[in-house]
Amino acid sequence: MVFDVQNETMPRDELETLQLKRLKYLVEKVYHNVPFYNKKFSEMKVKPQDVKSLNDLKHLPFTEKQDLRNNYPFGLFAVPRESVVRVHASSGTTGKATVVGYTRRDVDNWASLMARSFEACGVTRADIVHNAYGYGLFTGGLGAHYGAEALGATILPVSGGATKRQVMLMKDFGPTVICCTPSYALHLYETALANGINIDDLRLKVGIFGAEPWTEEMRHDIQNKLQLKALDIYGLSEIMGPGVGIECIAAQDGLHIWEDHFLIEIINPETGEPLPAGEKGELVITTLTKEAQPLIRYRTRDITRINNIPCRCGRTHYRIERITGRSDDMLIIRGVNVFPSQIESILLETEGLSPHYQLIIDRKGSMDILEVQVEVNEKLFSDEIKHLQQIEKKIMSHIKEFLGVTAKITLVEPRTIARSEGKAQRIVDKRKL
């Protein structure tokens, strides 16, 4: 039931000794190999030898998403480009992608951490894994793929889309494990029913769901409908991809973060001050073993808290509670990260559009629906319906092209979008999370 007994159940004092050893090595490495970190350390007057205990972590600089963008594409690599065997990128758009490189060892570590994660969910070599995460620059597909192979399970690299075909495959191939976003799981369920496939015809027993926020209610709904155990997985491309943390099937309560590879902190997002275990704040991760693109104190912007109570599964690694929000304005729509500022630049690039817009997100059935309301101004206005409809279509196709999300565009009258304190309310999230 535990993939890597030595590392996953290591006593805390040994684990912390290992973490400190790895942290010291990491700090030396980035200081000497990554100009960005060398400069940051110098600005903060920190030297690698200042790190004497894990407690000294708080003296190190944060790394932010913007730092990755500023060093786009390969500026944060700590190894020569030839040592990088794979590159992934977050749902980056309009040239602002965040790129991550992996050495051979990084890819192997990732696979073994994903294998651990699968096993923590009760997956064994005997299982068939239906992987409906997208393959490509997005880390979900390949991350789960290599993890399942490393475990020795049978992987079905289905990727996203063609839902009707997916449910046929599920009936014919009999996968026992499904990996996808929680909302897509419900979509698969509805598609199955619509195509006369009964859940009793399927053999699913475990679902590993991530890449978007979901609730306990949604978990119950998925478990009832799909007749499986639904488990939460955590990851982000900047750090690695899926498998940074996982819920174990034994407790199904919080996600173990693989602490021999990732050092976690919770900070107050306003002040940057570290918070003690149990307090809610922003998750900050330091990669302890990454070779190609190690990150020091990466601000994930995900809001959660650390649970340091020993887990009944026997793993000694601390857990975080499910992500309950963001400390920035990022939205996750059908698994895709969307910043309102990205929509704003698309609108501004679309001729004649005022930057007065509002994003309305709702969930109809199992699907997230994004509506972009744009205020019409005189420059944009035409007395011909077709011109206005062309504008709607143009915005829709730009959003689809740059963000990969289908949005409904609604033109609204000027000054109808509520301004609070002179600033427009950009986001109305009607999803109950």
Binding site: E378, F381, E384, E413, R415
Partner: protein, 143 residues
């Protein structure tokens, strides 16, 4: 020879059209002709009024998005085939009608057709050559 038309962007919400008519009524502007085009989300109200400058100002002051367009008003005898004759002339000359609406004059003899063309000047020329009377704005506003 052109007629000034104002157009107003309307969201499909109850009461929006009434807001326009209230604004015009309070400004003392009379509507000569109107057409409302709509989609599921929004509509465009096109108006010919007695005083378009006054109407435009009142509407803008009340927060409406207002556009102005030159349209053509053609007079046609109120009988079967009247509209068809005109459309035939236009199509023979390859002129496209973007949209149109019509009303019958009080005298009941003639109808007035309001056209928005893709090539307005050519359209006027074609119609006049074929003996169609074009009603100038000054006359239409004061009918």
């Amino acid at each position: 020879m052109k007629v000034e038309q104002i157009s107003i962007f309307l969201e499909n919400r109850a009461g929006r059209l009434a807001d326009v008519t209230r604004t015009l009524s309070e400004a003392g502007v009379n509507i000569r002709a109107l057409s409302l085009a709509d989609t599921t989300d929004f509509g465009i109200l096109r108006l010919i009024v007695t005083d378009h400058e006054k109407a435009k100002k009142a509407l803008k002051d009340n927060g409406f998005t207002v556009g102005r367009t030159n349209v053509v008003a053609a007079e046609v005898e109120d009988r079967p085939g009247g509209l068809h004759d005109i459309l035939s002339m236009l199509s023979t000359n390859g002129i496209n009608v973007e949209y149109m609406y019509a009303f019958v004059q009080q005298s009941g003899k003639n109808a007035v057709l309001i056209f928005r063309f893709d090539r307005t000047d050519e359209a006027i020329e074609t119609l006049q050559k074929n003996g169609v009377r074009i009603i100038p704005g000054s006359e239409l506003y004061n009918i």
